[in-house]
Amino acid sequence: MSSDSLSATFAALADPTRRAILARLISGETSVTKLAEPFQMSLPAISKHLKVLERAGLIARGREAQWRPSRLEAGRLKEVADWLEHYRRFWDESFDRLDAHLRELQAQQKQQHRKQTREKKHVRTKKHL
């Protein structure tokens, strides 16, 4: 699982049409045409939704060029439904960023400290003169 998959999943599930598509796929593999039927939407629009779901790993699509049937990826969906797994990834990714933030903050402080020390030295040298 790549580290930004969580954001792809979030985005995929945020849309009601895509959730409805997932619910329909529970009953089995379905073609794009069939999936489009209950929605007032063009085939390209549905295809776009399917692409988002596929990228999030929530569905897989057949290779047949004519009717690329979509099916649910059960494992991924189970993971999304498991709130502990969801939060473990949320925290892990947030803490990676916290780690980077703390490093940057300390580097800045060090730099500032160095600058101040330099300025003090400068003042002292001036006094000497």
Partner: protein
């Protein structure tokens, strides 16, 4: 007696998440990163997310409200109440999904599974380890929440699905 304890321990294990991290920074700094809204927005949320809003009323009984934004522009709000505030050692707060006004909403509001508890509790402890900070986060789903009432919906569908795939 002992059996009962085992059961509750089993349930606790299922509902609890513990994460430990060592940060190469003094704990005062790590504490500030958690409690200063200007700093929190710099790291809150998964990779590629931003945090456009963080409001923090840091006192026991005080509230927080955070918003994180996905790369696609979806906003996810969360809120909670501070239960313990002991700088720079320990922070305990509740945690729930929220709307932009800070009202608690179920996770299904954001299209997430119905087994998410409505309210969770987060306990963060900060230990000094030779100038570095060992941070331990405990995330617990509180009982008397939605998870006990509605474990159907998505989960039921997943069970069916899992069966059909066997």
């Amino acid at each position: 007696m002992s059996e009962q304890r085992n059961t509750s321990e089993g349930q606790a294990a299922k509902r609890e998440l513990v994460i430990t991290r060592i940060f190469d920074a003094p704990r005062e700094l790590v504490w500030q990163a958690w409690t200063d809204p200007k700093q929190l927005v710099k790291w809150w949320g998964p990779k590629n997310f931003t945090a456009p809003v963080a409001k923090i009323d840091l006192r026991v009984g005080g509230k927080y409200l955070y918003c994180m934004r996905s790369p696609e522009g979806h906003d996810y709000w969360s809120t909670g109440i501070y239960r313990e505030v002991i700088p720079p050692e320990r922070l305990v707060c509740t945690d729930s999904f929220a709307d932009a006004d800070g009202n608690v909403v179920p996770a299904s509001h954001y299209g997430l599974g119905e087994d998410f508890p409505l309210e969770m509790q987060v306990t963060i402890t900060f230990e000094d380890v030779a100038g570095k900070t060992k941070m331990t986060l405990k995330h617990v789903g509180l009982p008397e929440s939605m998870s006990d009432m509605t474990n159907t919906g998505w989960n039921e569908s997943f069970d069916k699905l899992a069966e059909s795939l066997q």
